[in-house]
Assembly symmetry: C2
Homo-oligomer: 150 residues x 2
Amino acid sequence: MARAIALACDGVDSNAGGPFGSVIVSNGRIIGEGVNRVTSTNDPTAHAEIVAIREACRTLDTFQLDGCVVYASCEPCPMCLGAIYWARADRIYIACTRDDAAAAGFDDEFIYEEIASPFEKRRIPIRQMMRDEGLRAFAAWNAKPDKIEY
Amino acid sequence: MARAIALACDGVDSNAGGPFGSVIVSNGRIIGEGVNRVTSTNDPTAHAEIVAIREACRTLDTFQLDGCVVYASCEPCPMCLGAIYWARADRIYIACTRDDAAAAGFDDEFIYEEIASPFEKRRIPIRQMMRDEGLRAFAAWNAKPDKIEY
């Protein structure tokens, strides 16, 4: 966690982006590190945890991080928490929380509220169209004999 | 949406990854496209919407997609919905839903449930440590005169 926090502070100093750092540990060894790079790389998905997960997956040559532990200087936002679930890490340690992030002007808590809201109450409207056509992609997937599930 | 669905079907055929496609539109023009590439690139974050958002941001040379519309062949998972909120797109159109994804074996609905659960009920445990040290990163951010907010 000390390393994740140091990355967060370094990222502020170096103008990488927001004050967030993360490391991924496997068998007591750091296999991925990330610092928020949203503004320096023009990538709104370049949060510390996303950057660290991508690096850890490159290190292990896999798309699954089972057995790994995520350290994050702040509670992951819904995007990053979703990424941790898709990577299927074992556990998460955090230093600060979404409330600390909100106090510093970050939208984490707002996005948590939006994701839990029904479509009709959301601030970014979401509408359905062409479901029958869309189901064709799932039909192709279900019929595919050599698919790699994740 | 027809293009997003075509990308989803193409991705299944070409073994890119799961059956999901997305496009980002600005002023009636496609500025980013994505197909799920999780298994082909060993990147659990390479969902169609994430890939499309990153491409759209490269196209516009920005980390914000205000004024843009997201078309997704299936309702975004929490990770991708979070990314759309961070990018601040204007609206979202979807063809299939999280229930259609669950019926095809994908964890979207499970992750929505986990994100809305209190820490102590989650399947991936989350614990807090070293908050005082973590707050130093926010203090550095708050004190930074030339920070770029996002």
